[in-house]
Amino acid sequence: MHADPTGVLTGTHFLNGDQACCEGALAGGARFSAGYPITPSTEIVERFSKRIPTIGGVFIQMEDELAASIAIQGAVWAGAKAFTVTSGPGFSLMMEHIGLAAMTETPCVFVDVQRGGPSTGLPTLPAQGDMMQARFGSHGDYPCIALCPSSPQECFTLMVRAMNLAEEFRTPVFLMMDEVVGHMTERVQIPPAETIAVTPRKLTDKAPGEFRPYEDSEDLVPPMAHAGEGYQFHVTGLTHDERGYPSMTPATQAKLIRRLREKITRGMDRITQVEEDNVDGAEVVVVSYGITMRVAQRAIKLARAEGIAVGGMRLVTVWPFPEERIHALAGRVRALVIPELNMGQVALEVERCARGATQVIPVPHAGATVHDPQQILDAIRKGAGR
């Protein structure tokens, strides 16, 4: 299925990441968004609120992020594709509903334009400190999918992809932007609608009465139904059986939680997106994501000019973590260098996956700006033993 041309602003534009993200949402089929203003994410819904009435859909500004993050889920069950956007403190407030979406298998997208924290932190300045919050922020054990764009162009393409992955796996998907990417303006090419693939919602073809909302299916992603169609189904955040009824037994919990995890694990090949640059034969590989990988590329060039064989690996999907790729890489290099705008979050994952096979050198940064490429260069030199 391809995108509905009504929502696709085909052409070449000069947009910031936030604006491009909004266009991605529209191209991906989003016709509902609920939001609460917070810097630096606000431009996404500002644009959506302007665009959506002429496309056919609804934007509502809610009273807080808790409301926004669950209103979109109501809209999903009513038949719309929906997303919300936020930043730092708002992301914290949305955590409970990320768990609800995971538990009820509600396809929706959460965009977090990361800013410096903790707390109010740096409203207008960048960080990548929410990576672990995206992964583990809501209580309970659930998997998630998180994508990290590093340009406005990618804010568009990855937002479309996020909307699609949400539908394919019936799970909340995160677009983990950062303030730099969100506020950076660049050329964004939006292709014609017919070339943009859009994943339709997986709906049941069963008759009311035969429909079991959470039944096992081959890919572990049960087809859903929308309210108002006569299925009279029940959805609950409680642990539930195949009928969707609360069933708080060890067996039901084990079955449900395992399936939620397994559906993502099984889909790893379709979810994982990693970009490699001269990784073969590299002594050192820089592993990073988002804006930091762009900055790191400058350091990589500088290191190559010094004769160091450096490769780069950009994690476009950070969650689920490309565990095997990192593990395989770790066995072939002298060091992995992990710059990120936090004190070492994804570096922990890299370290875990390297399983001691190589040296892991984090390049932490507290945020408020991006790395000085020199810091990354120094780490590369260290990894190469220079």
Partner: protein
């Protein structure tokens, strides 16, 4: 396509590997249209000239009163590092912006100022060339003070080679409401004319007042 960075010497390592880019800072105070100017400039480069441009703006309380600025990197290749490290060009629309950003201007760089609002009271980095334009005055004479940023863009277009004239015009017209097209076109034209006259006269900025095309706007 104009030759980028043609005016500049190749900077010293470590950033020599990426020298095919131009780093521009546009700064002023809130209400001068500084961000829009940078946006239009970036659009001219990225959309109409087909090179790469990355624009970032400084947000926050300072954007509502004091110094407000935008950064633009124009390059032949995709821009990696999004911020100005050493500005090739500083466009200063206010005294405060000038004071704040002149230290990041590189040696041999280009300084464009709002002639009536910026007084160059401090030492500039070596070999910096300065050009001034009475952008606000010209805009007022054209009828609306708000087009001061467009006048500055015209001036910028004339004294630098970052974007083509055609791209600049397309970028301006695609960024302003249709009802304001004529005024913006005039503002851009005026800026270009003053800039070209200034450049062709080969006079130092402080003596540009003597040029008839320039002086015409000052009385």
């Amino acid at each position: 396509m104009p030759e980028l960075a043609s005016r500049r010497e190749v900077a010293a390592a470590p950033d020599a590997v990426e020298r095919e880019l131009t780093e521009i800072r546009v700064a002023g105070f809130g209400g001068q249209g500084v961000i829009l100017a940078a946006q239009i400039l970036g659009k001219a480069a990225a959309i109409f000239d087909g090179v790469h441009a990355t624009m970032t703006q400084n947000f926050g309380p300072e954007a509502r009163g004091g110094a407000c600025s935008a950064q633009l990197i124009v390059a032949r290749h995709p821009v990696l590092y999004p911020y100005v490290t050493k500005a090739d060009i500083l466009v200063a629309m206010s005294q405060e912006a000038f004071g704040k950003f002149v230290p990041e201007l590189k040696q041999g760089g280009l300084l464009l100022v709002e002639r009536d609002l910026v007084r160059i009271q401090q030492d500039l980095p070596e070999r910096v060339r300065t050009y001034g334009v009475p952008a606000t005055r010209i805009a007022e004479k054209l009828g609306k003070r708000v087009v001061q940023n467009i006048v500055m863009l015209g001036f910028f277009g004339a004294v630098t080679e970052v974007v083509s004239r055609k791209a600049m015009e397309q970028a301006v017209l695609s960024s302003v409401p249709a009802s304001m097209a004529a005024l913006n076109k005039d503002a851009l034209q005026a800026g270009y004319e003053v800039g070209r006259a200034c450049l062709e006269s080969r006079l130092p900025a402080s003596e540009c007042d003597q040029i008839p095309e320039y002086a015409a706007w000052l009385d």
